[in-house]
Symmetry: C2
Subunit: 344 residues, 2 copies
């Protein structure tokens, strides 16, 4: 357990001052004679010298690190998102410190404090909706914040990257309407969240465009955490006049909703047409494979990283950006035209 060489060891071995070594390490910071540069690089190689990140951070006042704050990684959507973000970040030489919130504002607050201690230069997060003051303070302290997937209305001046929630919901609803469905169930996220309400609004807009009434009893807004999706499915199908089609627009509740449908032996699509949000790989392994709204995770990740790093380098104009990427409807076999005679 010998200790690692420092910049002074390198300087001594190369017969130069630490300033020179530092300049070799950060070329923009000043000139170095070619011969000395070679020699220093040789010594660095020979000694296996690597600069300590902590020292640089202390001196620079901020770390080449970003925080990634998501609900939980057991949700495949966030897992795949995290995967892409870690990957993109690495390609820019930035490390990612990961924190999960379990949708709990207290844990979120904790995470933010910790990230602040670490002097991260940016945070990519799916906010729980709370901690408004904390987010604001974070940004005031010079941390570049980008919300991904969800927004917080009160924080207009924070960058947001999400899919076209309104549009996606509207289009999937329209698709079902075009198949003849008039009673379409909707399971969405909490209406206090931007995704939850935007998707509900898209659903409503589709009805309005088709001059269909919106039956509020067909709408379920359920939390992201827990298994409320199953309950919502149960109560929808137990209605006197159950829906003939269902959109699960709450990504986190898809699994529990489908589980319930399987348990109930619901015949899809003959008894119920189904569209779920997000193309989890397993959605094509069910019987039948599910029609989905595909969220382009790569795009979300790339935009988020670019925003954070762009702001870090001061390369972006001031105002907040709201980037919405398009989410495609991917038809598989869980939607069928409504055959009136077969309606019970």
């Amino acid at each position: 357990m010998r200790k690692a060489p420092t910049i002074r060891d390198v300087a001594a071995a190369a017969g130069v001052s630490v300033s020179v070594v530092s300049r070799v390490l950060n070329p923009e910071s000043g000139p170095v004679a070619p011969a000395k540069r070679q020699e220093v690089l040789r010594v660095i190689e020979e000694l296996g010298y690597r600069p300590r990140a902590a020292a640089r951070e202390l001196s620079a006042g901020h770390a080449l690190t970003i925080g990634l704050v998501v609900t939980d990684l057991s949700n495949p959507f966030f897992a795949r998102l995290a995967d892409r973000i870690v990957w993109e970040a690495r390609s820019h030489g930035v490390q990612v410190v990961l924190m999960t919130t379990q949708e709990d504002p207290h844990l979120e607050a904790d995470s933010l404090d910790t990230l602040l201690d670490r002097s991260v230069s940016g945070v990519i997060a799916t906010p729980t909706g709370g901690n408004i003051e904390k987010w604001r303070r974070l940004r005031d302290l010079g941390v570049n914040v980008v919300f991904i997937d969800r927004a917080i209305e009160e924080l207009e001046d924070v960058d947001v990257v999400s899919i076209e929630n309104f549009d996606s919901a509207q289009r999937s609803t329209e698709h079902l309407i075009s198949l003849g469905h008039t009673r379409i169930g909707l399971i969405t996220g909490p209406l206090s969240t931007s995704t939850g309400s935007a998707r509900l609004n898209g659903y409503k807009a589709a009805h309005q465009n088709a001059s269909l009434p919106v039956d509020p009893t067909l709408i379920r807004d359920v939390p992201f955490r827990g298994d409320a999706g199953g309950g919502a499915v149960g109560s929808l199908l137990a209605m006197r006049q159950p829906p003939t089609a269902l959109i699960v627009a709450n990504t986190a509740q898809v699994q529990s909703s489908v589980r319930r449908l399987v348990q109930m032996g619901t015949d899809i699509p003959d008894e119920l047409s189904l569209i779920v949000f997000d193309d989890n790989p397993w959605t094509e392994l069910t019987t039948p494979p599910l029609s989905v709204i595909r969220q382009p995770l790569d795009m979300l990740a790339v935009h988020a990283i670019e925003l954070v790093l762009g702001r870090m380098h001061g390369k972006l104009p001031d105002g907040a950006r709201r980037i919405e990427v398009k989410a495609d409807y991917l038809p598989r076999n869980s939607c069928a035209p409504l055959i009136l005679s077969s309606a019970r």
Copy 2:
């Protein structure tokens, strides 16, 4: 974007020296008069002071951070594992820096260098199998390394936490044998990995115990990356005498294997009994729900964290630990007795 207060600001405001503030922050490091302690705490609260992690790390020589190095988070097994690890680490006040390797030793080497720069005090990893010297150097530099899920044979003195691979494979094979199957296909990981070979050996042992011959043409060892599972399934079922049961013991290939089975319209379990490794939530959403070997992720995570932190605090005896946790067989509906008459 005002700047955050430092320990000297606190000291000045409280009318004490920095040493006193530092001792208030780290009680073990020395005595402080109760009155002053109160006053310092008050000022800290008032100023919203938080110690900079970088400064502490620089001084301490190591960070309260561990690195988590996994293949990729789009594999649900690793995602759920990462989720548990992040969670456990947080409960011990430790942050996690996440890196992915895509099973590529070069990326792994890169990750290790980066983690070393960050002076992490521990690393939890699913090693690719390469970089043996690098791992050794890491450990020599005082970084506590714990391998999870897989081991590297050459590194006998590194802690390992995994499931009972041999046992799990043996038991699932025995279960299929007890149902009357004699031609059991096996899709496992690369034989150069500990999981790949241990599971194969368990499979063989079950055959030996039952005095059944092992037909090597029924065995497929495929890489973790890519979609080789589908190909393996295809070639197994295309055999003149195809297997009547199949064990997919390569966690990363389960999805692609099942996808192929679905595409081929294979009747499970009548045509083929199926057991797959790891209880991904979606395995109960297929038709039929799949019988699985359940890996207790929580246990893996808890043990890994405890090993890393235990070593960090020097609370553990010297020798390397090899912890194997039991993985249960969870029967669902994808296994059926072999009905001889129905065999083609």
